[in-house]
Assembly symmetry: C3
Homo-oligomer: 473 residues x 3
Amino acid sequence: MSLTKRDLVTVDDLSNKEIESIFSLADQMSDTLYEQSEVCKGKIMASLFFEPSTRTRLSFEAAMHRLGGNVITAMDVKATSLAKGESIADMARVIGSYADIMVIRHPWEGAAKVAAEYAGIPVINAGDGGHEHPTQTLCDLFSLKKEKGAIDGLNIALCGDLKYGRTIHSLTYALARMGASIIFCPGDGYEIPDYVVKKLTEEYGGELRKIAANDVPSLAGVVSGDKAELDALYLTPSTPHQPALLTDIGMRVDLKQGVDALYVTRLQKERTNTSDDDVKKSYPVIDKKTLKGKEFKETLVMHPLPRVDELAYEVDSDPRSIYFKQAARGVPVRMALISMLLGAKNIEMPDVEAGKASPPIYQREFGARCHNPNCAAVHEARYIDPKFAIVNFKPLTLRCVYCERETQPKYMASTKWHQGTIENKLYHNVQSHLLAKIDTSNMLFFESEEDAKAHGFKPSRFAEKGKKGGTDQ
Amino acid sequence: MSLTKRDLVTVDDLSNKEIESIFSLADQMSDTLYEQSEVCKGKIMASLFFEPSTRTRLSFEAAMHRLGGNVITAMDVKATSLAKGESIADMARVIGSYADIMVIRHPWEGAAKVAAEYAGIPVINAGDGGHEHPTQTLCDLFSLKKEKGAIDGLNIALCGDLKYGRTIHSLTYALARMGASIIFCPGDGYEIPDYVVKKLTEEYGGELRKIAANDVPSLAGVVSGDKAELDALYLTPSTPHQPALLTDIGMRVDLKQGVDALYVTRLQKERTNTSDDDVKKSYPVIDKKTLKGKEFKETLVMHPLPRVDELAYEVDSDPRSIYFKQAARGVPVRMALISMLLGAKNIEMPDVEAGKASPPIYQREFGARCHNPNCAAVHEARYIDPKFAIVNFKPLTLRCVYCERETQPKYMASTKWHQGTIENKLYHNVQSHLLAKIDTSNMLFFESEEDAKAHGFKPSRFAEKGKKGGTDQ
Amino acid sequence: MSLTKRDLVTVDDLSNKEIESIFSLADQMSDTLYEQSEVCKGKIMASLFFEPSTRTRLSFEAAMHRLGGNVITAMDVKATSLAKGESIADMARVIGSYADIMVIRHPWEGAAKVAAEYAGIPVINAGDGGHEHPTQTLCDLFSLKKEKGAIDGLNIALCGDLKYGRTIHSLTYALARMGASIIFCPGDGYEIPDYVVKKLTEEYGGELRKIAANDVPSLAGVVSGDKAELDALYLTPSTPHQPALLTDIGMRVDLKQGVDALYVTRLQKERTNTSDDDVKKSYPVIDKKTLKGKEFKETLVMHPLPRVDELAYEVDSDPRSIYFKQAARGVPVRMALISMLLGAKNIEMPDVEAGKASPPIYQREFGARCHNPNCAAVHEARYIDPKFAIVNFKPLTLRCVYCERETQPKYMASTKWHQGTIENKLYHNVQSHLLAKIDTSNMLFFESEEDAKAHGFKPSRFAEKGKKGGTDQ
């Protein structure tokens, strides 16, 4: 298995083995940073930033230059052809014919996926709205691995804005996959969203526990007074290669082992409307005092940067602070990734993991659609049909393949109706037993009864919710 | 003849032979894209965009990188020193001392010409207001040649905004020069301007015919109902090397041969004030249905991109659609051009064409001036004197050498008046027989009688229009 | 002594010898511009512009490309992470881990110094607010040297905005150090600030004279009618290597020798609030007429560019005009500087100058502070403590090490108070004899008596101004 010509849209595009191989190459490259200048010679990276981000952009561009490659850059693209009404698809196709690899940041969730579908060259997601920022996650994991030797079994506390911080969501999934336990320590009103917790527990076999704040006295001091409880998620890793499953061990036990890393995030002001003052009052701040707790004795302090006030400057000189190292490591990690996607470097991956079976895909021009107004596919509906992974049948749950937001349509039909007479063009409730009888490739889902009727379907006996056998009306 | 150290401001800066030699090199380079990295090694291209254009800029920059050269970029320059009041001339001189070649896009017509006069290095016009965008035209012609083998004799339909689209005007002149016939198919209110038609008929020997819309049924459907006629221009090529002149053959005959390419353009919204809705109603849209017409059986569908709604996404997968190929070919065409202007590549051009005699140039500090408010020379009048080509004597017509807008001053005098007595300082009507008697280098033209008088001239007997012999007052 | 790994924040960071060695290398490089492409191969320059400046940025970037190096650029950084509240220190640390050298322009005075303290790589100041722009000064001096052979002994007239033009202040100090005499010829209301004159006279041993406007008739014509006097500063160079000190020779004598260079500057509109019209009336304009004066017979006309109207276009073709050459020379000067700071080139500097003793440094978390609202250290007070050079004891004068603005605190104490009893925690007036008795490293300065009291100090007998012996109250 090789990474050549592949895309990196979400961390899930990479297996654990592939992540390990990227880290292994990044490790080599960071030791010989000035000796890589022939690796991508003659290659061009297009760096397309539809949202400002100096740090991420320069990290990618520095990486490409260290590899001896060239860069063409479009930053603050709002002012240019996109404003003339150009689609992501057209942009991706054209720039894809100029360059050899594309890095894209865009405010719409799923935008990188759309670009990847059309570019014809490898696409790296450098942040798509509130969705994912996978190379940030790779850098975080790489730093953890460098400092702690392995990720499996670590206790990681996440602190601050766990609601809007895109780096946090990617990170939780990746930590879960790799066998780490996570302690959530959000600012008041910035709790980790339910759908993230759901994904962690349902897809990664995590176990959620509420714990009293005074179980973690130092962190308790960080959150505001009203907040009596912290959320803690203990993950029981489910991948076959991890031998020791965490069992039902108490909170105190784990905390006696200490927190391995405290990952602090700034408030994503640009994604909220809250006034500064309200926020500042309750937002957790990590300073020297916080770090005096016993459980933090060997804790790495991490931050994706930029920071504002949530991490005091006095902590900078503490040997536990590794956030500047973490940023610096972005260059070799991105070098490794770029050179592997371009096929300029290949690391043998002998032991192919038995992947999870992919869920069935559902795509139709009409019927069920994504309800995320910031989804790139919704914005670009003139040429993209709704497309979902069917991630659950009870209750029926579709996950948009672009933004990964889920939706639960209530009505269904089969495309095979026309084989019979016109009277057979019927729709049913998704809770009816008929769902199991329709072949996945023939399924049709509707938003509402009106939606179904608008496409010429009539209610079946099973259209009414919960009814085992109804009438044809 | 060589392109080394020359500028490309308008397509007319290149002979047909030179265009062919650029295409020949572009062809070689596109086959060996990754083998050109020594061609411009050590050279610097300055990429100066005073108007946003991601696509064109990145295409030039990718081309320079493929050639192994370096790029310095200024985009959205409005915010910088030009805002401090700097002239194009100063900017060109300074950047000209940093770089080896300059690419400039600017909102003023003629701006690239001004830059070329001062830069001291080759300058490529990447779009100057509504005037020209010659490398886009080269890419269009290159695509036509690659797909159809030759341009001479092709029937090209131009569809959409033929009024404001700068790519269209350059393209018509070039197609005319190279012997193609053109069918105009404008949106309602977006007809090709009279001065373009005039130039086509007068300078390229074209012949204009109005044809009934139902002669081209498919295209007729595209324009709005009120529009009963299409404009069609049949060009009779006048250059000596083209053996077969098109003679007076009927419209139907040509259309039976089919349309070779349908060139679609978007509405240049940024150059109009029309509200969106009004425009959308009448603007032609090309879709699968349009292309069902017999005459489109082997028609290439082209578009300079970005598109908005004038070209349906359903056409993308049609094998006749070549607009993404067209965009991709911009890189090798620009590579060929850059390397030839820099003298890094030279293609033998043994057969030098007998060029048309250049019209006489007229330049004075006072008197006749360009009336185009968006002309770069008008904006930069503090250091640029009006400068015209005398393109016609009956009626007397001056063409601004910067923006190519024409003007027809009504009064004239001779600079030789001072050789006689002061009483001889007289002005005449340009329609008088005296125009033929004044040596071109001594001519003086005035905007009005007041203008002439303000410079100390008095009316001669020939000052009054049409009068063969008047009085001195 | 070597420049490797050093910063260039102000011209004073370089000795005269070091400047000479940069010029010597620049000279070599400008003769072999295309042969330097291996010098900085594989190195990355970060070009960070927090204020727009196409010219300076492109000059640096062209220089790095000529050296074979790579560039990562952030222009108009306002829109990016700094807007998210990031500090200069964090930015410098992160970008410092991506690149090998950093060029920074920032609107705050002292910003480049702050960046230099944290970046971990060489930092070049490309302009920090109204403070310094040292590479512009180097280019100016290099041009003078190239044209006149040496700087020592030249008469340089500075004309225009001498108040806000940052290039002018740096230039005066450098000219003074290198033994040139300066004639000030400001626009009305744009006189050279007192602190600059003070620095010139006190630190460089200059001598200031007022002269009547009619002593320099041509320049007199330039300034507005009301202005009866020009300011002239004759500098008596004080560095040991300059053999011939200028003595008290009259103005006319010097001007008979002629003005060697006339350095013209534009009005820094962006730093003033004056309406255009008011300014235009009185602002000096240099044109052909000005340059007809005898004393200008061999005068170089210089300008840092961009110009607006203060330098007529008709002067461009005058052989005395060297402002475009001056701009072009920016590339080899910056090439020499970059390659020396990166350690890629080293020029032997055998004759190390006996430097002036550095003034003692004073840094405390509280007490005396910089009063410049545009000082970077004031903006970044959350992590930078006030830091001053004690440049004078009578009167006590502290100079901010970041923005170089001076302040004169009135009260002082010793940190050694706590060694005695609490009653010894006293503050004194800085004019008291006690100032001389406190060890520099123990000094504490206060803004006011309130400030001192707020930190627990009580007034001593010497707290009242001028009082030789007061009471403890």
